[in-house]
C-alpha cells in the first residue's frame, strides 16, 4: 500500500475537486494535496499524478517505450510525507528546495508529494518549451500536425508568448526518402527520440537513429536502410510534433475538419482498436486506439493504409437483377421481392439444395440476421462459412536486424486476414450445428446439387482475390446465385442478383477477434450510392420494420446464443468484452 500526494488547484468554479484534500504549508508554500492510493503498482510521477486528475506535460515519455527523460517537459517539484522518528503521531512534510525532477523517471513511493503547479515547476515547464522552440520553424499553417500537435497545445497551456532567440534558426533539409510511408520534416523535430526508441524496442528493426550532436541533432536512417517495416507509420502517431508525417495522409485534410469515431480495424484477426477519421463521407485515415485487451498502443501499416477500397470508385453501389442476359440496376424493393420469391420457390423444390455462405467480414449481428432469415425459410437450408483469407504466417514484432522474431512478442500481425471468423463461426454453430467449409460448397456445386446460393461477401480487394477463378466456374452453374459484395469479382458477373455490400467503415456491429474479444464496430461514413448496410438488407429480408440498430440486434443475439451471452446488455464499452468459448 502506497499513498502519493498530488498538489491540486481548485477547478474553474473555485471549488476544490474533491473533499478529502489535505491543506498543509511546506517550506513557505501553501499546498492543497490530494491523496492517491496507488497500491503496489510501479508508477512514475506522471502516472501517479494522472490518478489524481492532474496532467503532467510530457513529450519523450510514452507508456509503451523506455524512459529517457530527455525532453525535460515533465519537470515537477517533489517532496515527502514522513512520520516523525521520535513521535509517531506527528507527521513531517518536506519539499526538495529549489529543485525540480523529471516526473517520468522518478518512481512514486509511499509518501511522495508531487507539485506540478507552483511557480518553480511552471517556470521550468515554460523554460523547457522556450528551449524546444528555439529551432522550431513555427510553420504551423502548412504543418499537417497543426490542430493535434503537442507542441502547440503545451505552448498554449504552459509556454510563454514569445521567444528571446535572436539568432538564425537551424534549417536542416527535409528527408522524404526516410521511408515509403513516412516523411521527415527535419526542422520541426524536437528530439524526443520516441521514434528511435519505437523502432528499436517495438519494431526491433532499428532503422532510425540520431545523428550529430547538440543543437544539430537530427533523426536519420542508416544509408540505404529506409524505415519500411510493417509498423513504420506508428512513428507518425508517436511523434508529438509534425516532424514525422504519413505520406498517405500528407496535405489531404486538416485535422480539425475530421470527425472521429472509435472502431475496429478489419484487416486481420488481431482486431486492432482504431480511431476512424472521416469527413463528408470520405475516410481519410485510421489511427490506433489504445486497447490493452486487443493490441496495445499500435497498429500495422497493412491495416492503417488498407482502407482505400472504402472510397474506391469501382465499388458495387446499386442492387442489380438479371433480366434476359444482362445485370440491370433495379430498385431495392423490386429486387427484394423477386429475390425472396425466387428463394422460397427454390426452398420448396429442394430445401437441402439452398445454401447460405457467410463471409468472415460480416459482423456477428449481420451473420445472425442472415442465418435467421435463411433458416426461417426452412430448417434444412444449409449455412457455410465463406473463404477465410490466410496470407503467410503470423508476423510478430520485435524482429532483429535479420528479420527473425525476438521474444517477448510486442505486436502480432495475424495471417488470418479477416476480422470476424470466430464470431461468424459461433453463429453458424448455433444455427447449423456443424461447420461447413467453403470447399464443401464447391464440391456440392460440382455435383450440381445446389439450387440456390446466397453468397454474403463483403471481401476487400486482395491481389489473389477472395475466390479462385476455377471455384467461381463451378458456382456459375447454380440456377439462383445471389452475390452480395463490395467489388466486382469473377463470381459477381454470373450472379442472378448482385447486391452491394458495405465496408467496415459504414456499418455497426460486433467483431470477435482471434482471442475471442468482442469489440464494437462503429460507422464513420455513409455507404456510397444506393448501397445499404448489410444489416439493413437482412432486416428487410426478414421483413422486420425500421432501421438497423446494432445494439438492439446484439441484445437479441446475446439472449439467443449462449456464446454471446455477455453481450446481452448491448454496450461493449471502450475496450470490448472477452468471450469464453
Amino acid at each position: 500500500m502506497a499513498t502519493v500526494f498530488v498538489n491540486v488547484l481548485p477547478d474553474a468554479n473555485g471549488k476544490p475537486p474533491r473533499s478529502d484534500l489535505i491543506k498543509v504549508e511546506v517550506g513557505g508554500q501553501k499546498l492543497t494535496l490530494a491523496p492517491v492510493d496507488i497500491g503496489n503498482e510501479k508508477l512514475n510521477l506522471i502516472q501517479a499524478a494522472e490518478r489524481a486528475g492532474v496532467f503532467v506535460p510530457h513529450y519523450c515519455w510514452h507508456p509503451a517505450l523506455t524512459v529517457v527523460a530527455s525532453c525535460r517537459m515533465c519537470l515537477v517539484q517533489t517532496g515527502r510525507r514522513d512520520p516523525d522518528k521520535n513521535d509517531p503521531a506527528k507527521i513531517n512534510w518536506s519539499l526538495l528546495p529549489n529543485k525540480v525532477v523529471p516526473a517520468c523517471q522518478t518512481p512514486a513511493t509511499d509518501g511522495t508529494i508531487i507539485v506540478t503547479n507552483n511557480p518553480l515547476a511552471k517556470n521550468a515547464q515554460a523554460d523547457t518549451l522556450e528551449g524546444i522552440l528555439l529551432n522550431h520553424p513555427l510553420d504551423c499553417p502548412v504543418c499537417d500536425k497543426a490542430g493535434e500537435c503537442m507542441l502547440q497545445d503545451y505552448s498554449y497551456r504552459y509556454g510563454r508568448a514569445q521567444s528571446r532567440m535572436i539568432d538564425e534558426k537551424n534549417t536542416p533539409p527535409n528527408k522524404p526518402h526516410i521511408g515509403d510511408n513516412v516523411t521527415l520534416f527535419t526542422d520541426r523535430c524536437i528530439m524526443c527520440s520516441r521514434c528511435v526508441r519505437f523502432t528499436r524496442e517495438v519494431a526491433g528493426t532499428a532503422e532510425l537513429q540520431i545523428i550529430n550532436r547538440g543543437h544539430h541533432s537530427e533523426i536519420d536512417i542508416f544509408p540505404g536502410e529506409p524505415l519500411n517495416n510493417k509498423l513504420a507509420t506508428n512513428v507518425v502517431d508517436l511523434c508529438p510534433v509534425g516532424a514525422l508525417c504519413s505520406k498517405d495522409f500528407l496535405y489531404t485534410h486538416r485535422v480539425w475538419n475530421l470527425k472521429t469515431v472509435d472502431s475496429v480495424c478489419a484487416d486481420c484477426s488481431t482486431g486492432c482498436s482504431i480511431h476512424l477519421d472521416t469527413n463528408k463521407s470520405v475516410v481519410y485515415r485510421l489511427r490506433p486506439r489504445h486497447n490493452p485487451q486487443a493490441q496495445g498502443y499500435f497498429m500495422c501499416d497493412d491495416g492503417r493504409l488498407g482502407y482505400h477500397y472504402v472510397n474506391a470508385p469501382e465499388r458495387i453501389v446499386r442492387p442489380q437483377m438479371r433480366t434476359e442476359q444482362t445485370l440491370t440496376p433495379t430498385p431495392w424493393n423490386e429486387v427484394r421481392q423477386a429475390l425472396v420469391q425466387d428463394l422460397k420457390a427454390a426452398v420448396q423444390r429442394d430445401a437441402t439444395g439452398v445454401l447460405g455462405v457467410l463471409s468472415p467480414f460480416l459482423t456477428c449481428e449481420e451473420a445472425y440476421l442472415l442465418a435467421k432469415f435463411l433458416k426461417g425459410l426452412s430448417g434444412q437450408v444449409r449455412l457455410a462459412l465463406g473463404p477465410v483469407p490466410v496470407v503467410g504466417q503470423d508476423d510478430t514484432y520485435p524482429k532483429d536486424r535479420r528479420g527473425n522474431p525476438i521474444q517477448p512478442v510486442r505486436f502480432t500481425i495475424r495471417a488470418e486476414k479477416c476480422p470476424n471468423r470466430r464470431g461468424v463461426e459461433e453463429v453458424l454453430r448455433h444455427f447449423q450445428g456443424d461447420l461447413i467449409p467453403f470447399d464443401e460448397v464447391i464440391r456440392s456445386a460440382q455435383s450440381n446439387s445446389i439450387q440456390a446460393l446466397y453468397l454474403a461477401g463483403g471481401y476487400p480487394p486482395r491481389e489473389e482475390g477472395w475466390i479462385r477463378t476455377d471455384q467461381a466456374e463451378h458456382l456459375k452453374n447454380i440456377p439462383l446465385l445471389i452475390v452480395q459484395d463490395l467489388l466486382p469479382s469473377p463470381i459477381s458477373s454470373a450472379a442472378k442478383y448482385l447486391l452491394p455490400a458495405s465496408s467496415f467503415a459504414e456499418k455497426e456491429g460486433t467483431f470477435v477477434n482471434h482471442a475471442g474479444l468482442a469489440q464494437a464496430l462503429r460507422w464513420g461514413v455513409t455507404p456510397p450510392g444506393e448501397c445499404r448496410v448489410d444489416g439493413q438488407i437482412f432486416l428487410d429480408l426478414l421483413e422486420r420494420r425500421g432501421l438497423i440498430h446494432a445494439p438492439t440486434v446484439r441484445q437479441e443475439l446475446g439472449q439467443e446464443i449462449p456464446y454471446f451471452a455477455p453481450l446481452a446488455q448491448g454496450d461493449l464499452g471502450e475496450y470490448g468484452i472477452p468471450l469464453q468459448g
Binding site: 520553424p137 513555427l138 499553417p141 502548412v142 514569445q162 532567440m165 527535409n174
Partner: protein, 195 residues
Amino acid sequence: MPVPPSDIRWVEEPKLGLAEMLYLPSIAQGMITTMKRIVQPKITQEFPEQRPQLPANYRGVHRLNRDEQGRVRCVACYMCSTACPAHCIDIVAAPSPWPDREKYPETFVIDELRCIYCGMCEQACPVDAIELTTLCDLTGFSREEMMFDKEKLLSVFDQTVQRGTDPVRTRGGRLGVASELPPEGGVTTSSTAQS
C-alpha cells in the same frame, strides 16, 4: 411572455400650440432645407458610367495575391476556409512544386454567390494571400460562372493592381509573423504589448 402592467408606462400626446396648428413654420423650415440642398455640390454618381471611389477597406470581390515571382502566395493552410462562416471556400492542397515552401493550393475555389463578404478570410490568412478588393459590381450569367477558381482570383489581382485601385496590403512574411526573425534588437515586452 406577457408584459407585467408595472412595466407599462402610458405617455400622453403633447398638445399642439397655435404655431403647430397653422403648419406654416414647419413648411418654411422644410423649404429652407430644400433650398440648401439645391445649391450644395451634388454627391450622387451616375453608376455605372461613373465609378465610385470606394475606401480601401471596402469588402468586394476576393483576389489571390501573387508573390514577387508571380506565383500564388497562398500556402493552402485552410485557415480561410476554417474561418469562413458561409463555408464558401474549397481548397485542395498539394506538395508545392517550388523549393521554398512545402505546400500550395492545387485548386482554390470561392463560391462568390455563397460568400457573405465578411472579410474573415482576409483576417485569418497568415500570409496575406487572400484580400477583398473594391470591385463591387459582380455579375454573371450562371451559378457556375460565379465559382471563382484560382486563375480567376489571380486575374482579379492582376486587374486591380494594374488599375491601381487596390494596392497590395501585405505585411505578413513567408509563413506569418511567428515564423519570421524578431525585429532588430530582439523582442521587447513593450513592443509585443503594443502589437
